[in-house]
């Protein structure tokens, strides 16, 4: 497509009116920012995104417990298999004799998520048949070395906390 350039008259070709117009625009921005209007910069460490995050935000993956204090994970290892960057490592364990939830049979002895590898894709949450793993709103995961970046089971439960309103599919089973 050929765009015909508009022929400029001599005032326009001086460019000075355009430059003064430009200066007026930048001055308007300067004045507005000086009065504190128009600046939307967030003062990061003091102000955080937390309050602005949507309900469906995909932050760090965490493990949750239900209202009865039972850990939801049954160590089926589906999340471990589906995890694209292979960030999850689970070591299953048999639930010992005498435990009220003995009928569930399995629980994780160790549940490690390497946050240096996690890509926050949310496939683990999607694949979980037990509603045990959820991506919560923590996004600022830091560590001084690779080992510190691995979230162990305790850390995962600490971040996940208690999730209510889930299905209790083991309660009716004998």
């Amino acid at each position: 497509m050929i765009v015909n350039r508009k022929k400029l008259n001599w005032v326009e070709r001086l460019y000075l009116p355009a430059i003064i117009g430009g200066l007026a625009i930048t001055w308007k921005h300067f004045q507005r920012s000086l009065l504190g209007k128009g600046v939307i910069t967030m003062q990061y460490p003091e102000e955080k995104w937390d309050a602005h995050l949507p309900e469906w935000y995909r932050g760090a993956p965490t493990l949750v417990k239900d209202e009865h204090g039972r850990e939801k994970c049954v160590s089926c290892q589906l999340c471990e298999f589906i995890c694209p960057p292979r960030a999850i490592t689970i070591e299953p364990m048999e639930i010992p004799e005498g435990d009220p939830w003995r009928k569930v049979e399995k629980a994780p002895r160790a549940f490690d998520i390497d946050m240096a590898r996690c890509i926050y894709c949310g496939l683990c949450e999607e694949v979980c048949p037990e509603q045990a793993i959820f991506l919560r709103k923590d996004y600022s995961i830091t560590g001084l070395n690779r080992n510190e970046m691995i979230h162990h089971k305790e850390k995962l439960y600490e971040l996940g906390g208690v999730m209510t309103g889930l299905v209790f599919k083991w309660n009716e089973k004998k």
Binding site: T26, H29, S33, L34, V39, T41
Partner: protein, 400 residues
Amino acid sequence: MDVSNFISQFFSPAAWSLIKSLGECFMSPTGFLIWTTLLKSALLLVIILGLVSYTVYAERRVSALIQDRLGPNRVGWQGLLQPVADAAKLLLKENFTPKSANYFYFRLASKLAMVPPVLVLGVLPFGSSLFGVPMTIASVNVGALYVLAISSISVYGIVLAGWSSNSKYPFLGGIRSSSQMISYELSLALSLIPIFMLVGSLNLNQIVQYQIVHGWMIAPFWPQGMSLDTLLHPLALLEAFRAGCSLQRVLIWIPLFISFILFFISMFAETNRLPFDLPEAEQELIGGYHTEYSSMGFALFFLGEYTAMIAGAGVITTLFLGGWSLPLVPDGSHGWFWGLVNIAVFFAKVIVILFVFIWVRWTIPRFRYDQLMKLGWYFFFELAVANIFLAALILTYVKR
């Protein structure tokens, strides 16, 4: 009791005579000139270096505000200690010289970029007088010529840096700088000639004195003998204007205003500021001539650039905006307070111009290379020459 007799009790006669002769030496005309000049130089250097670091800070804050951001506001209240942090960072970094660079010229270039702008400051009258000492380091009769000559030397630093870095981007920056200089330096110097014709002197002090009497060069309508008393009486004010006004003084304003515009725009090219920052051009040349520099080598270029900005603003202030004078404000001969006020007025004007420099930087995009050449050769040069003839015609044929 005489003070000198009282003090002399504490010294042996020989030591006292030495002290007395030293004192006489200090207060003799030559001695007085030497130590006051040294003191003035040190004072000005301290002021300028402080101003430079805070110009960098202002540049960052103002540009941020223009772009609806906040800019550095962490170090100290509102980020006011940011320049200190920057200086510490630059001092502690490794001073790296590329293996293929020519070491001697590479190191020399950064100094050459810093020294000329500082030298320019030497002739600027930055105040009237303080305790009877004129606030100019050197009041030379070729002042304006000296300014033009020295400020064009700073291009050598850039060209040398570009060549000695032995790297393609600095090289391009150096070449651009040298050809840019050729195209704007002509109009820079020629645009000042109407002022010299009007004042009849190249001495910057005399140019300032002329502006005190006749009004600033960008609006030379100030009636002679104006004071607070005449300002309060409308009739006397009218009379003063009638007495001081003539067709020539109104008409001479036209070439002087054209001079101001030409000089101001050329100053942007002189100080390598946008819209003429072709030698640096971050986006095209990765910083241009100072790409290969680090640590203090880079800091010297940076300091030199901002000192050049301040010196340029000082020259514009002195030549067009009345220097240290403000209407109705007396000069330093009326007491040290007014001397300080005059210095403050000078730096206030400089700061306003520095703000305009920064403001323009975030308004106008960079010129293309050929556009700058065209502007310099086809437009500014002709306009400056025509302007000289216009001023000459007005000064010769219009009744004063």
